[in-house]
């Protein structure tokens, strides 16, 4: 029996799919798995796992949270960057925040479950928290002293123009104090949960404030990474944490700083990527050298 050519062609196509599946989908990846068993390469192909006393504690490529059960930082450890992967550094739920550069207005619902923070407020809150933990100034441009985004909804008589009729600090609710008392002569109100001041006609106006352009808390300390698993922090953020970690462990800050340098990776070939400190490896080395008292 001869098949009509249009069926024959589809059978040829199906056979081609199967042949390539066996070749490229089974033989090739399994061959590469076999290559990954080569001594010296096997550790890397298996995820660069780190063991302490025969117990696997993580991967040198995957970051970890160094917080207690409530999510508070454990002071004797260097802290990783903020993470948007699950509850933080969860490899089964990797994610970035995906919030945009003008995500500046919090959603303040009457039900806290439905509230969500803008990226700006997240940045401000982290900066304040890191500043307090490490004893430096946590202020940043566009942030209020109480650690939310310094953003006003400005209502004008004619919509976009005209005299100011009303001003709301959209990310601050009672009992906070508005970060500025007046704007163009009008008293600044606090926000009330459940209001959408953009929909109500307010012009969103972020206020720069007088914080230094280069804040004491480094950029990587207040931003989530793309993967949510970033194993590194910048040398600047590590440096900021040296005194606190040394104090908690009763160690000489100079010795801790030396260990930070040992765990700092430069740019590959001098020009690729950024300089980073591997937090897990550094903390492991600290536990070895200066065990917690």
């Amino acid at each position: 029996m001869r098949l009509p050519s249009w069926i024959a062609q589809h059978l040829a196509a199906l056979r081609a799919v199967l042949v390539f599946t066996v070749l490229l989908g089974i033989a090739y990846p399994l061959a590469m798995v076999a290559v990954g068993r080569i001594p010296g390469l096997d550790g890397r192909a298996d995820g660069s796992l780190i063991s302490v006393d025969g117990r696997t504690v993580g991967s040198s490529l995957i970051g970890q949270s160094f917080t207690d059960a409530d999510g508070n930082p454990i002071a004797r450890y260097f802290q990783s960057r903020p993470s948007a992967a699950g509850d933080g550094y969860d490899p089964t739920s990797t994610s970035a925040s995906n919030l945009g550069p003008e995500s500046v207005v919090d959603t303040l619902a009457t039900d806290p479950e439905e509230s969500s923070q803008s990226l700006l407020t997240q940045v401000c809150a982290r900066s304040k928290a890191v500043g307090e933990l490490d004893g430096v100034d946590g202020s940043r441009p566009f942030c209020t002293p109480d650690g939310v985004g310094a953003v006003l909804a400005v209502f004008r008589a004619d919509g976009l123009t005209g005299p100011v009729t009303r001003v709301v600090s959209v990310n601050q609710v009672a009992p906070a104090t508005p970060f500025v008392s007046t704007y163009e002569g009008t008293r600044v109100e606090l926000a009330e949960p459940g209001h959408d001041y953009v929909a109500e006609g307010g012009n969103i106006t972020p206020i720069r404030g007088d914080a230094p352009a280069e804040p004491a808390v480094p950029a990587d300390a207040v931003t989530a990474s793309g993967s949510g698993l970033d194993p590194h922090i910048s040398p600047a953020y590590a440096d900021l944490q040296v005194n606190r970690v040394a104090r908690e462990r009763g160690a000489d800050p100079a010795a801790v700083r030396r260990m930070v340098e040992e765990h700092t990776t430069g740019r590959a070939l001098g020009f690729m990527g950024g300089r980073g400190v591997n937090v897990l490896e550094l903390n492991l080395a600290l536990d070895r050298e200066f065990p917690a008292r």
């Binding site: 249009w6 024959a8 062609q9 589809h10 196509a13 081609a16 799919v17 199967l18 042949v19 490229l24 989908g25 090739y28 990846p29 798995v33 290559v35 990954g36 192909a45 298996d46 995820g47 504690v57 991967s59 490529l61 995957i62 970051g63 970890q64 160094f66 917080t67 454990i74 992967a85 490899p91 089964t92 970035a96 925040s97 995906n98 919030l99 945009g100 550069p101 003008e102 995500s103 500046v104 700006l120 940045v123 566009f142 280069e214 950029a219 931003t223 989530a224 793309g226 993967s227 698993l229 970033d230 194993p231 590959a268 070939l269 020009f271 690729m272 990527g273 950024g274 980073g276 897990l280």
Partner: protein, 551 residues
């Protein structure tokens, strides 16, 4: 060394490497697609598939073979996802839901690799390696094969024959993609990319918490994901994941893999039409557009405009410390200038104008240098439109490489060009008309950008995203699936029809009035036509999204 200097050297090193391989790798690919001697493995494959490697095909048969192969791939991939729980290495995951399986099957068969799922919690290892990664190879080979068929249309005279799809598919896969993939996978494993069949290792962290260290055949898939300009990550966060892209130098390798085939294909074109300088002209157009885009993306990202980047002090949200801002921007440009869509940082959190650049790159039609094969045929279409425009100016019948561009040819070229803008703009409008734009994470102009980005990415077969938007709903999976399907195969049909029409012609000898297509003047005109066409088509949409946000 300052951050900026390091970023500039990073780009220059890529340029040097691509220039260095242009001739040898292009010549190698030329020998692969024009050679006639078949290896024993290849002869075995032809026998198993049941095709005669010596029989050439007309454009219609070639197109039907492409479509038949793609339909078979689509069905196979759909079924594999739907029954994954019954097969090995499923890691206990449920079957993929129907609309998700449809979207993913279309996505990988069309070389888009848009991901409406999260890899680590949806796809078992078998689906990843025997389903998704296989399509990473063959969808790339299909793109290259179609481009080669178009070039044969220019190179051949008075014939119906454009080559044999099955032979092209097999030779490109086995002789170009597979060898580079094996070498690349080895290099990535050296850097720390995972390659095992582990279902994950549970560990107790330093602070007593638990963490699951995932495993899987990642390296073998990662390399072809970049080399074939596919872009579908093993994990949700794609090449930002330390197990896909562990170091700054694997990042360099991945960008290089993305660009190596598309930037070398003009050499194949030049060799096949017998004038290497025509290849240089096409490569020059690609390089000018690409360098301009990479530069602008870097400038916008490093300048860090916008409220949040200024509050932070850098556009570091969604970026990894090991890649830093500049290399992340370069990756973003490379992945959208091609049809890759892999990401090592999250475009949604870029500065407004920095995030506009990936969008513009895709809107350019991904021709600088574009996806494997798709970039070359896209740019050749633009070259055809350019000689047509030039012909209009001087009032004579335009010709390109000795082939007359008459009404028939220009119709195919125009249809090709119109498909993606129509899909992008109609799709975006439909999302807003039906209220499905509400799944965007961000509000205001950025919310519009998320929707516009989704349709631009799907219709151009890119696959990257402003990933805040939720797209695993039935409406989004269906709509974007249709955009991917139509955005891939309608252009391919028009390209092959154009190839058939060109191959039938007898060559017109060049005369004094012929526009030389290898001179800087022509290169500049193609660049101009490309930019003007895109600006006219998309400026209004861009003005409502990223421009409104960033200016």
């Amino acid at each position: 060394m300052t951050t900026t200097t390091a970023g500039v050297i990073f780009v220059l090193s890529l340029v040097v490497a691509l220039v260095a391989i242009y001739k040898p790798f292009g010549d190698y690919m030329y020998r692969v697609v024009s050679g006639t001697r078949q290896s024993r493995v290849e002869r075995g494959i032809y026998r198993l598939v049941g095709v005669n490697p010596a029989a050439e095909q007309s454009w219609g048969v070639y197109a039907r073979s492409v479509l038949a192969f793609s339909v078979a791939s689509l069905l196979f991939l759909y079924l594999l996802q739907r029954v994954q729980d019954k097969l090995w290495l499923s890691l206990g995951f449920d079957p993929v839901v129907p609309h998700g399986a449809w979207n993913t099957a279309v996505s990988f068969v069309t070389n888009t690799n848009w991901q409406s799922y999260s890899g680590e919690s949806t796809m078992g290892h078998l689906v990843q390696m025997a389903g998704l990664a296989v399509q990473n190879f063959v969808s790339a080979a299909v793109g290259i094969a179609v481009a080669i068929a178009l070039v044969r249309g220019f190179a051949r005279h008075r014939t119906e024959q454009l080559g044999n799809f099955w032979v092209d598919l097999t030779r490109i896969t086995l002789r170009i993609l597979l060898p580079v993939a094996v070498l690349g996978a080895f290099a990535l494993m050296l850097g720390g990319v995972v390659q095992n069949l582990s279902g994950g290792t549970d560990v107790t962290t330093l602070t007593g918490g638990t963490q699951t260290i995932t495993g899987g055949p990642v390296a073998s898939q990662e390399v072809i994901k970049e080399l074939g300009t596919n872009g579908g990550g093993f994990y949700n966060v794609n090449s930002a994941h330390p197990f896909e892209n562990p170091t700054s130098w694997t990042n360099w390798i991945e960008i290089f893999l993305i660009l190596m085939i598309p930037f070398s294909l003009p050499r194949v074109f030049g060799r096949m039409v017998g004038q290497n300088r025509q290849g240089y002209a096409i490569a020059a157009v690609m390089a000018i557009l690409a360098l301009a885009s990479v530069t602008l993306t870097n400038v916008f990202e490093l300048s860090g405009h916008g409220t949040v980047p200024q509050a932070v002090g850098a556009a570091l949200e969604g970026k990894e410390v090991r890649f830093d801002v500049s290399n992340s921007a370069t990756f973003a440009a490379a992945t959208t200038l091609t049809s890759t869509g892999a990401v090592d940082s999250f475009h949604d959190s870029f500065t407004a104008l920095g995030g506009m650049m990936p969008l513009v790159n895709m809107m350019l039609g991904e021709v600088a240098p574009g996806g494997v094969g798709a970039g070359l045929y896209g740019l050749l279409i633009l070259a055809v439109i350019t000689v047509f425009v030039a012909g209009l100016m001087v009032g004579r019948t335009p010709e390109y490489l000795g082939k007359k561009i008459s009404a028939r040819e220009i119709k195919f070229a125009s249809m090709y060009f119109l498909i993606t803008p129509a899909l992008v703009l109609i799709g975006t409008a439909a999302a807003f008309a039906t209220g499905n734009n509400a799944t965007a994470l961000n509000v205001g102009p950025h919310g519009l950008s998320e929707v516009l980005y989704a349709f631009t990415s799907a219709s151009n077969n890119n696959g990257s995203a402003f990933a805040g938007i939720t797209v695993n709903t039935t409406w989004w999976d269906t709509a974007l699936g249709l955009c991917m399907l139509l955005g891939r195969f309608l252009p391919i049909i028009f390209v092959l029809a154009l190839a058939g029409s060109l191959a039938r012609q007898q060559p017109t000898p060049a005369s004094e009035g012929t526009l030389p297509t290898h001179r800087p003047l022509f290169v500049g005109m193609v660049v101009g036509v490309t930019v003007v066409l895109v600006a006219l088509t998309f400026l209004p949409a861009l003005a409502l999204g990223p421009l409104a946000e960033g200016l």
